[in-house]
């Protein structure tokens, strides 16, 4: 993860990106927990809202793999198709945890 590349793509400073990534980690941690709870409770409306939120934030910051995984969950929740969502959210969480480690190293 090169912060300089993201910064250049968005036309911002590296300090701005660091601030945004900190905010991203904070909000996505909450959204991810809410998403897991929603899937466990089979609440597809809430799952759709939370996956949509993760998708939007990830996409805007250019975190493509997070975007694609969240999008898949979002699409399924929107279509009220809960099968396999628990596995998918697990993959999303692992990807997110990996990203957090990378962000911490780049501080």
């Amino acid at each position: 993860m090169e912060l300089e590349k993201i910064a250049e793509k968005l036309g911002l400073d590296v300090e701005d990106i660091q601030e945004l990534l900190e905010l991203y980690v904070e909000t996505t941690t909450t959204d991810l927990n809410d998403l897991k709870g929603a899937i466990e409770a089979n609440n597809m409306e809430l799952a759709h809202a939370k996956a949509h939120s993760i998708k939007g934030a990830s996409g805007n910051l250019g975190l493509d793999e997070m975007f694609e995984l969240a999008k898949e969950i979002d699409d399924r929740a929107r279509e009220n198709s809960p099968d396999g969502l628990d596995n998918m959210v697990h993959v999303l969480e692992e990807k997110f945890n990996g990203l957090v480690k990378v962000f911490e190293k780049s501080d």
Binding site: K9, L10, G11, L12, D16, E19, L20, L23, Y24, T27, T28, A49, H52, S53, K55, G56, A57, G59, N60, L61, G62, D64, F67, K71
Partner: protein, 130 residues
């Protein structure tokens, strides 16, 4: 030019605000479409950059309000969305947004969305002809 940003996601909100400031604007930021509509009525807003899915009033409802109201000036609207289904694009067109801007979207996401937009446009044109 006065820019209003309507976005409920804190990350996207901060990102849009930073980009607008980098471009030399002093944006007003609100959390939902209802607050955005209040601002459009009260303040001299020239451009609204809005998310689609928001509480209270969503981006499409906001756009409809803007287009259906006789405001003293034209207000430009940019709708930011990652929704990529044909019906999504048709809903966007029907709210009075004919050219979605993807300025804040990343390269990888652009292609399918633009493809959907073309398909939806063709479908919309066909439905008007028949």
């Amino acid at each position: 030019m006065k820019i209003l940003i309507a976005e409920d996601d804190p990350v996207s909100q901060k990102l849009l605000e930073k980009i607008a400031r980098h471009e030399g604007y002093d944006p007003v930021v609100v959390n939902n479409g209802k607050n955005a509509w209040d601002q459009v009525k009260k303040e001299k807003v020239d451009m609204v950059i809005t998310d689609w899915m928001m509480p209270e009033m969503d981006g499409l409802q906001l756009c409809r309000k803007i287009r259906q109201t006789d405001l003293p000036r034209y207000v430009y609207v940019i709708l930011l969305t990652a929704e990529d289904q044909v019906e999504d694009a048709v809903a966007v067109f029907s709210a009075g947004i004919f050219h979605q801007k993807y300025a804040m979207m990343m390269e990888k996401g652009e292609k399918p969305r633009l493809t959907v937009e073309k398909r939806a446009l063709k479908k919309s044109i066909r439905s008007r002809i028949t």
